[in-house]
């Protein structure tokens, strides 16, 4: 899909520029004339939404950095000053903190979209891996950003997460000391987190560039997972998907604004409005909601190193997913059994997220005591997390490798156009199908 260019410079200046820096051509080929499968549904709008999220975070972040002071004695009060005294500081900071949550909502939907429609399969493996590099960078950025207000959750969250590296044998302690720049999370830690929190979003932007590049080589996957066969299967990106993405972005911003203006602290934790105190840990320490599934996996394992390894393994397994799924059929639409396992997987992720926010020894069904299995009552969140963790890994390591070889997929359409054109009376289908008649 790449390679040919339909850009024709119209003015003398454009011609002059095109032979020197063909940047208008690049933009034209990537967002105007880029041939896009004509059957993309709304799950495909999250790429555009994520780009908007990144821009919002960088713009608001740069403003916040103008007023924030990265020092243990001033960090908390400088954030409060932003909230109370800086003109519109409350707005910019709430945009930034809620924006992070919105960013993760969108990225999770984007990831599950890719999982369901097999967007990680050949020839899109590199695209998928770049996506997960972005996700890792996002997690690092979000974690360090959460430390900056230097509240109780900030501080003790930083202690717990940096101590994860201490679980590594031999080098663990040296690594945590190196990360802290001292013998505990302290001013040196806060300072470097601020520096890196400022840097990483620009690295994300760079990898996003690669991600889009890797997307534009094979072109978009689509809901039926069948390759684009002819020009009849595509429409130009503009205006068809600029408008569709634009509409989805508006809906998404409405959701964003709902949080921002009506309940800006709904996704935060009240303990972070208490200044950091290294001598007292909050009774119930939890990470931000978007890390809860991984936190549940960490706590599911009674062994420190084992828990840490399993938690990182939960992300590592996604990097090799393109080689674990043996099915030749991309879209779960044509994999009735696979679809079922996928739905349970999505459920397991939500269950893990829920468990991550609960106390491990609390009961799932109140008032019911079953029996102690190994170290905890079976009716406890720790056991529920263990079951969900087991399924999480089994889905990637057992279900997808084996199911691809054993299941019988249902018939896939010949091409993207076939199901659309086979509905002669379908008015909406005809409307969508109109542009390809030109070609």
């Amino acid at each position: 899909m790449s390679g040919h260019s339909t850009y024709e410079p119209k003015t003398g200046f454009e011609r002059w520029l095109d032979t020197r820096l063909p940047i208008v051509r690049l933009g034209w080929d990537s967002i105007v004339d880029y041939p896009t499968p004509k059957n993309l549904n709304y799950w495909w709008t999250f790429g555009g939404i994520l780009a908007v999220c990144l821009v919002i975070q960088i713009a608001t972040g740069i403003v916040l950095a103008m007023h924030y002071v990265p020092h243990v004695d001033y960090a908390f009060s400088s954030v409060e000053r932003i909230m109370r005294d800086v003109n519109y500081g409350w707005l910019v900071r709430y945009m930034h903190s809620n924006g992070a949550s919105m960013f993760f909502i969108a990225v999770y939907i984007h990831m599950f979209r890719g999982l369901y429609y097999g967007s990680y399969k050949a020839p899109r493996e590199v695209l998928w891996i770049l996506g997960f590099i972005i996700y890792l960078l996002m997690m690092a950025t979000a974690f360090m950003g959460y430390v900056l207000p230097w509240g109780q959750m900030s501080f003790h969250g930083a202690v717990v997460i940096t101590n994860l590296f201490g679980a590594l044998p031999l080098v663990g302690e040296a690594i945590t000391t190196w990360l802290w720049g001292g013998f505990a999370v302290d001013n040196a830690t806060l300072n470097r987190f601020f520096s890196l929190h400022f840097l990483l979003p620009f690295m994300i932007a760079g990898v996003v560039g690669l991600h889009i590049w890797a997307l534009h080589v094979p072109g978009n996957n689509n809901p039926i997972g069948v390759n684009v066969k002819s020009k009849a299967d595509t429409v130009p990106f503009h205006p068809y998907y600029t408008v569709k993405d634009g509409f989805a972005i508006v809906l998404f911003l409405i959701l964003f604004a709902t949080f921002l203006f009506f309940n800006p602290n709904a996704l935060g934790h009240p303990d972070n409005y208490i200044p950091a105190n290294p001598l007292v840990t909050p009774a119930h320490i939890v990470p931000e909601w978007y890390f809860l599934p991984f936190y549940a996996i960490l706590r599911a394992v009674p062994d420190k190193l084992g828990g840490v390894l399993l938690m990182f393994g939960a992300i590592a397994v996604l990097f090799v997913l393109p080689w674990l799924d043996t099915s030749k059929v991309r879209s779960m639409r044509y994999r009735p059994t696979g679809k079922l396992y996928f739905l349970i997987f999505a459920l397991a992720c939500i269950v893990l997220g829920y468990c991550g926010g609960q106390l491990p020894d609390d009961k799932v069904i109140p008032g019911l005591s079953t029996f102690i299995l190994i170290d905890a009552d079976l009716n406890s969140f720790v056991w529920l997390s263990r079951l969900a963790t087991l399924y999480y890994f089994a889905y990637f390591l057992v279900v997808l490798p084996i199911l691809g070889l054993t299941e019988t997929p249902t018939a896939q359409p010949e091409s993207i156009s076939t199901p659309v054109l086979s509905h002669p009376a379908g008015l909406p289908a005809g409307a969508v199908a109109a542009p390809e008649k030109k070609g």
């Binding site: 201490g166 001292g182 013998f183 999370v185 007292v280 840990t281 706590r299 062994d303 420190k304």
Partner: protein, 184 residues
Amino acid sequence: MADTVVGENPDPHAAGEDPNRRDFIHIAAGAAAVGAVGVMAWPFIDQMNPSADTLALASVEFDLSKVALGQQVTIKWRGKPLFIRKRTDKEIAAAVADDTASMPDPQADEARHKPGKAEWMILIGACTHLGCVPTFAGGDYGGWFCPCHGSHYDTSGRIRRGPAPTNLPVPDYEFLSDTKVKVG
């Protein structure tokens, strides 16, 4: 190659002189560049390690008369909480009685306090799991309880149950007098 006339071929990679000399220069130059980058990387890595002023953090002296029997005072030392607990006879007895019990990181109570000062338990108050601060007198063993992931420590600061792998560490300290202790 050996009989190629010097200067006959303008392509430098197929030049007439002994090709091994050129290869050697390529490899040597490449290795020097890699080595130089490697050497310059170290200062950028090491700058994140504790700085001289952090390393020079003074030791603390503490007046023990501030701690009542059966109570604990938490002070900050090297950025971490330090527990100074004056144990009751009952708590000492419980710890000694458990010396033989099975635990993840077995250690006798005697080895965790200064000789003849069994009432003074001085520990670094960072859970050995992931560093939260355990709460005083909580948990099933009456020592400390870490709320983060449920580690139970006994009155000697030994891990008894939960994900923490080792006992609460005992820092270096000495008694300057009966009521004064110097940590670090």
